[in-house]
């Protein structure tokens, strides 16, 4: 017969164990400084451990719900892991797990980003966030890399630049304030502008934010925060793929945050309030699975009805059950077994940009489906196939087609450099070499195309310049303003 320990014994066991540890701690000297110096000691800058900014952005905005208090969950409601337990008929059969991940160490020891967060309206329908960091790299961490199309370019002193955040509906301003970078983003243009205008004359935190309530001021914790853990399962089924995530102890992905997405709709999952929303590429549904955990189902293959059905079939599972599922993922099966292009309605056939012995770099024009959140958009996709399998998926540019930086792709025949350009380019010069660069237009409505150039054997190509057919160097792409002199990014 099992005898249950009295509750107090557990506390005593903790206390005794910690006492043993503490008793072994050699405490530091307590001497006071004789006199203070004027300089401050400087340690090495920390390194950010960061992943998944795009997902955090999709959920609304990182950090918002840090300050929200709620009712502590009853202990019986604690959920550590979730999985799809009841398979909906829409999936056409039993899905299999193709990938999994758990992340809990994404948070900086001394958060380098400070945040001010205001909101207004009964439903907090408008919000504005001011971010401050010492380097643009830190803010890039918060908002995603510049080649995600967020327009995050460091301004010069005294200048206020405009951010482009097309997929979110936000607007933003960026400026340099002494040695600190500041970014204001939000749904309210006048408030964002007020912050930016105040920044040019003094302290932006003193801007006129009448009508808004300052509800948070402090460090911004990014994906995942100190107390959070993200666990994900990636499924594939006969009719498409989807992912199931649990933000455990992490409140950044609350339904309130998702509700701020322009296409968000309130719905319900197993009696709990949920928000379903989407963009041109995917749909996702988010709900509170208990009072300190948020569940998310996301798919670029399925629409809202199927996502709801999947969500209804998700239930808590034990850690062991979850580990068994994660362990069943085939190392050969990846979520990229087919190109992102097939998540859309394709236009025509794929165009081969470059090919060789059992490999090809392909591009295809696509349009967003009628049941997507942004139907009828035309975009361009690209990927690399080796032995008829998708080896590298560049994804698709839909709502904000822009230049993709050149990348060096390893192929069985050696490296190929590929990228997107809006202009016709005669040649690219590098390391004393000069190669013609034909830009392949994939669709007449898309003002840019792909190029792919096979590098000569032994070539490494790290720095490049583009030249026009008239023999003049092209420092700036007139279509985008992007510089055409730069560095090739290696895929691996």
């Amino acid at each position: 017969m099992t005898m249950s320990m009295p509750t107090d014994d557990v506390a005593v066991a903790f206390r005794r164990t910690y006492q043993v540890i503490v008793d072994q701690t050699e405490l530091p000297s307590s001497q006071l400084p004789a006199y203070g110096l004027t300089h401050r000691p400087r340690g090495p800058r920390h390194g950010w451990v960061f992943a998944g900014a795009a997902l955090a952005v999709a959920l609304g905005l990182v950090g918002i719900a840090l300050i929200r208090d709620g009712v502590p969950p009853a202990q019986s409601e604690v959920v550590d892991r979730i999985a799809l337990v009841e398979v909906p008929s829409e999936l056409g059969g039993q899905p299999t797990v193709v990938n999994s991940s758990v992340s809990s160490d994404g948070f900086d020891p001394v958060p380098p980003i400070d945040m001010w967060y205001w909101e207004s309206g009964e439903e907090a329908s408008k919000w504005v966030i001011l971010l401050e960091a010492q380097a643009d790299a830190d803010l890039t961490t918060a908002l995603g890399p510049t080649d995600d199309g967020n327009g995050l370019t460091p301004p010069t002193a005294g200048e206020v630049s405009t951010l482009s955040l097309p997929d979110t509906g936000w607007l933003g301003r960026s400026w340099l304030d002494g040695s600190d970078w500041r970014i204001a983003v939000g749904y309210d243009e006048s408030a964002v502008s007020a912050l930016a205008e105040a920044a040019t004359t003094g302290d932006p935190s003193g801007a006129d934010m009448s009508g808004f309530e300052l509800v948070y001021e402090g460090p911004q914790f990014i994906y995942p925060p100190a107390d959070g853990e993200l666990s994900e399962l990636f499924y594939t089924s006969p009719t498409g793929g989807f992912s199931v995530a649990l933000f455990n102890g992490w409140e950044h992905g609350t339904t309130a945050a998702a509700l701020r997405s322009p296409s968000a709709e309130l719905t319900e999952v197993n009696g709990r309030e949920a928000v379903i929303t989407g963009d041109a590429i995917k749909w996702w549904i988010v709900w509170q699975i208990d009072d300190s955990s948020t569940a998310l189902v996301e798919s670029s293959d399925f629409g809202p009805d199927t996502l709801r059905a999947i969500a209804e079939g998700i239930q808590p599972v034990s850690s062991d059950e979850w580990e068994n599922l994660a362990g069943s993922a085939s190392p050969d099966a990846t979520i990229n077994s087919k190109p992102t292009a097939e998540s859309f309605d394709t236009i025509g056939q794929p165009t081969v940009l470059a090919s060789g012995d059992n490999w090809a770099i392909k591009s295809q024009a696509v349009t967003t489906a009628e049941d997507s959140a942004e139907p009828g958009q035309v975009g361009l996709c690209g990927w690399v196939e080796i032995e008829d399998q998708v080896s590298i998926d560049f994804g698709c540019s839909i709502t904000d087609p822009g230049q993709r930086l050149p990348v060096r792709v390893p192929t069985p025949d050696g490296p190929v450099v590929t990228g997107q350009l809006r202009i016709e380019v005669a040649e690219v010069r590098f390391e004393g070499e000069s190669l013609a660069v034909p830009v392949t237009r994939i669709h007449p409505d898309i003002p840019y195309g792909w190029f792919a150039i096979q590098l000569p054997p032994g070539s490494t190509l790290t720095e490049y310049t583009f030249w026009s057919s008239e023999g003049t160097q092209l420092p700036i792409d007139p279509g985008t303003g992007d510089e055409l002199t730069g560095t090739v990014h290696s895929i691996n």
């Binding site: 099992t2 005898m3 249950s4 320990m5 509750t7 014994d9 557990v10 506390a11 066991a13 903790f14 206390r15 005794r16 164990t17 910690y18 006492q19 043993v20 540890i21 503490v22 008793d23 072994q24 701690t25 050699e26 405490l27 530091p28 000297s29 307590s30 001497q31 006071l32 400084p33 203070g36 110096l37 300089h39 401050r40 000691p41 400087r42 340690g43 800058r45 920390h46 451990v49 208090d69 709620g70 502590p72 969950p73 202990q75 604690v78 550590d80 809990s104 160490d105 948070f107 900086d108 020891p109 001394v110 380098p112 914790f221 100190a226 107390d227 102890g249 409140e251 009072d291 300190s292």
Partner: protein, 166 residues
């Protein structure tokens, strides 16, 4: 290595207010770090945190420097690896101290994730309320309750097994 030298170096760059804050917190920070990452690394964690914090701001500029430093210690320990194990030397506790915890109990406590270890340290060793522990950790009270629930479940299972074995 002498433990005096690094702290003397740290303190030499401080204003009086910062030094006062630091001296009031450092022992508690070292104990906290010891529980999270082990006595051997505790001091290194605390000095690293101190340098890192002062790289960005003065302690007396912070609204609650003590709370901030505790969070920074937790996060430094996370950065060094949440899976890192506390290494303990054999210890002789003076009488009439309670006996050392059983090895399996020690093992269970030290295998807890940092968040759970942190919550149990504040609540069961420092005698803080759940709300106070949440403040120190920068999380919601509900999160601390959750950590306590998970940690207690883990240890309760070990204690039950121990009682049954006896």
């Amino acid at each position: 290595m002498s433990i005096v030298q690094p702290y003397a170096r740290l303190l030499s760059g401080l204003g009086v207010d910062d030094a006062d804050i630091w001296l009031k917190c450092k022992d508690d920070l070292a104990r906290y770090a010891a529980v999270l990452i082990g006595p051997g690394d505790a001091e290194d964690v605390v000095s690293t945190v101190f340098l890192r914090v002062l790289d960005r701001r003065r302690l007396n500029e912070l609204e609650d420097a003590r709370r901030y430093l505790f969070r920074a210690v937790l996060n430094e320990c996370k950065t060094r690896g949440s899976r890192s194990r506390v290494a303990l030397e054999p210890v002789d506790l003076p009488a009439p101290q309670p006996p050392d915890p059983q090895p399996e109990i020690l093992e269970a406590v030290l295998s807890l994730p940092l968040g759970q270890r942190s919550a149990t340290f504040f609540v069961y060793w420092s005698d803080m309320s759940v709300a106070e522990a949440a403040e120190m950790m920068g999380v919601r009270p509900g999160t601390v309750k959750r950590y306590l629930h998970l940690a207690r479940n883990k240890l309760k299972g070990v204690l039950d097994d121990h009682v049954n074995a006896d």
